[in-house]
Amino acid sequence: MASFMASVARIGSLILKELLTIIKEPASRVILFGPALMQALLFGYGATYDLRQVPYAVLDQSRSAASIELLARLDGTGVFVREATLNSPAQIAGQVDAGRALLVISIPADFEARLAAKQNAPLQVILDGRNSSTAGIAASYVGAIVAGYNSALRDRVSGGAAQGITIERRAWYNPNLESRWNLMPALIAALSMLQTLLLSALSVAREREQGTFDQLLVTPLTPMQLLIGKALPAIVVGLLQSTIIFLIIRFWFQVPMNGSVGLLYLGLLTFNIAVVGVGLSISALSTSMQEAMLYTFLLIMPLMLLSGLLTPVRNMPEVLQVATYINPLRFGMSIVRGVYLEGAGLAEVGLEFIPLLLLAAVTLPLAAWLFRNRMS
């Protein structure tokens, strides 16, 4: 019992020392929380796939009642903003090339005549494919408006009834399909990972570089106690950052939280332990701060991009999907998203904890072993 108390006291003083190193410098204090706050706000507004404004140009060679009605439907949506009204096909390229118009609608001269003759009338839509997903969304908007126009035409002829099929859409978890709802919970895990990883990666490397690590090794601290003392402060900082981002998302952006806060934090804790394990292993492997930082950067890019943050994991080739199984962010993010957005319980996200726990079980002992067995 006494030895247990002694070890707790030792770990406690190590943790105190670690926290002091982190917060003693004003610049470091700002760096720990400022960026998380700023990025959560910036990306909350900036990271969106929702297309609310479609600047477009129109070339109406028909100038008929039919074409005017169709264009009025476009303008009436509030989404389509007419940037230019063109007079000749030669002007189309200029509008699209310069990026002034996301799409150009070209109505042929015989538009109304063909409709009157009960033929199909082509409506040409030219899209700027430099961002193909935006272009795709804009195209689907045009499609929906034209479909509405067509059904109005048919109604007029058949006298109202005889409409075909209505598709009733309902979206779970995110009724208006707002991309912010989908992206922001992921940031709770992603943004805090950046600094937790760097912080833990630097903690041992800094002491190695300054020569103080050898002093720590000759103290009565066992590698396990050393590990706990190094890991806990980084985990605490990570959780605090997650909390800041969580509060911004919940109360500033007002994304509704469907799951339990307890489970969310359990997930974040597990995720942070795994990340800190990776960070400390890097730290124990590198001989200087610079090396530790560069190896961290080496990891951050793939971890971020192959996590499902920006594009779904399911769209990746099989080989890469398998590779994401060692990515803590993939699982951390899917737990946070699941709990936050889908209101998932332990039954639904329980499996996602396993890879994180495995990763922690491998990396933490590895780091502890490396503390003693890797000397520069």
Binding site: Y49, I137, Y173, L294
Partner: protein
């Protein structure tokens, strides 16, 4: 005399920087290995293109008409429909994340279709909005096609009631197949060049401050500008190698067309590379601390380049304030330029305005970095 002194000192410093860079394994790893790995991983790994999205079909109406509708879904390369016995079963699978959407044909479908008031329920998994939107588009497209064909068929019998309809003929310029790889790969070049700049050079000056070697440089006749240029040059060379790797991968591996002129692409990329390296050095010179320098580089340069430059998130969609902020980032200007150069071709107004902005950044950053290196001790 002055000029020859400059060259002599510059060459001496350059030699020191090159040796230091080559000796450092981790720098070489980040400089050469990471870009190669990145372009491969992300070129293959990042994709918005929905293919074979799993969709559960719940048939509460088993009439031939309803089956025909569902057959329409099968024909689509984007959807992979699978039967589900009941709505409860389908909902469970959606909750488990196995499927992206549920298409439900209610029991009264064919009865109401005769009256012209049939309904189909489409339940989407909103946890992934991009996929959800794409799936919605494909499902309504497939059903719309079926309805159109049906109307045409019945139209033959009742010609009097039919009418012509407007047909959308869609052409996607610059990216005819709407393939997301084509717009992501040019953006990856921006990320690679940002990464080298931000990560490698942000440590350069801070390291010398921390080790105290910068103070020993002060007692030599070296001028700050010479120091900046000598530190910049070896990393420009590394960046040039990375650029060649990226261009080769883009062209031959991912088969992205390069429609603009290659010399223009190379020149503007080198210009952006210089800006990005200088930004890293500036951060380094301000903080004089490796940890802070790397943190700021990450937060001020790499993360915004990833999230706010128009790499995946279209800047047209963001609020005005964020648009202004993004216009402050050099990455945004280069992102627009390189996508245009790859996919659209030489659009001289864009080339000139973006290059001018980047050149201004380069000059300002050289001036600012030089100031952080003034020979003062604190």
């Amino acid at each position: 005399m002055n000029r020859s002194g400059f060259t002599r000192r510059f060459i001496a410093l350059l030699r020191k920087e090159v040796r230091q860079m080559l000796r450092d394994r981790s720098t070489m790893a980040v400089g050469l290995l990471l870009p190669a790995a990145m372009i491969l991983l992300f070129g293959y790994g990042l994709s918005f293109d929905v293919k074979n999205a799993p969709v559960a079909v719940v048939m509460e109406d088993n009439s031939p008409m309803a089956r025909e509708v569902v057959e329409g879904l099968r024909g689509s390369a984007y959807l992979s429909p699978a039967w589900s016995a009941s709505m409860v079963d389908a909902e469970a699978r959606m909750r488990a994340g196995e499927i992206d959407a549920i298409v439900r044909i209610p029991a009264d479908f064919s009865r109401r279709l005769v009256v012209g008031d049939a309904r189909i329920q489409l339940v989407l998994n909103g946890a992934n909005t991009t996929t959800a939107q794409a799936v919605e588009g494909y499902v309504s497209g497939a059903i719309g096609t079926w309805a159109q064909r049906r109307a045409d068929r019945s139209g033959n019998q009742r010609a009097a009631t039919t009418t012509g309809s407007v047909e959308v003929v869609q052409r996607m310029w610059f990216n005819e197949t709407g393939n997301s790889t084509w717009y992501l790969v040019p953006g990856l070049i921006v990320l690679v060049l940002t990464l080298i700049g931000a990560f490698l050079t942000s440590l350069l000056i801070a390291r010398e401050w921390e080790r105290g070697t910068l103070e020993s440089l002060f007692v030599t006749p070296v001028r700050p500008v010479e120091l900046v240029l000598a530190k910049l040059t070896p990393y420009l060379a590394i960046g040039a190698i990375d650029l060649v790797l990226c261009l080769l991968a883009a062209r031959f591996l991912f088969e992205v067309p390069i429609r603009g002129s290659l010399p223009v692409i190379c020149l503007t990329s080198m210009l952006y590379l210089a800006v990005s390296l200088l930004l890293g050095m500036f951060i380094s010179g301000i903080t004089r601390n490796q940890f802070q320098a790397s943190q700021i580089a990450l937060v001020a340069s790499f993360m915004p380049a990833l999230m706010l430059s128009g790499f995946v998130f279209d800047l047209r969609n963001v609020p005005l304030v964020i648009q202004w902020i993004s216009q402050l980032l050099p990455a945004t200007h280069f992102m627009g330029l390189i996508k245009t150069l790859f996919l659209a071709g030489n659009d001289w107004p864009t080339i000139l305005s973006s290059s001018t902005i980047l050149a201004v950044y380069a000059v300002v950053l050289i001036w600012a970095t030089r100031r952080t290196l003034r020979k003062t001790l604190d």
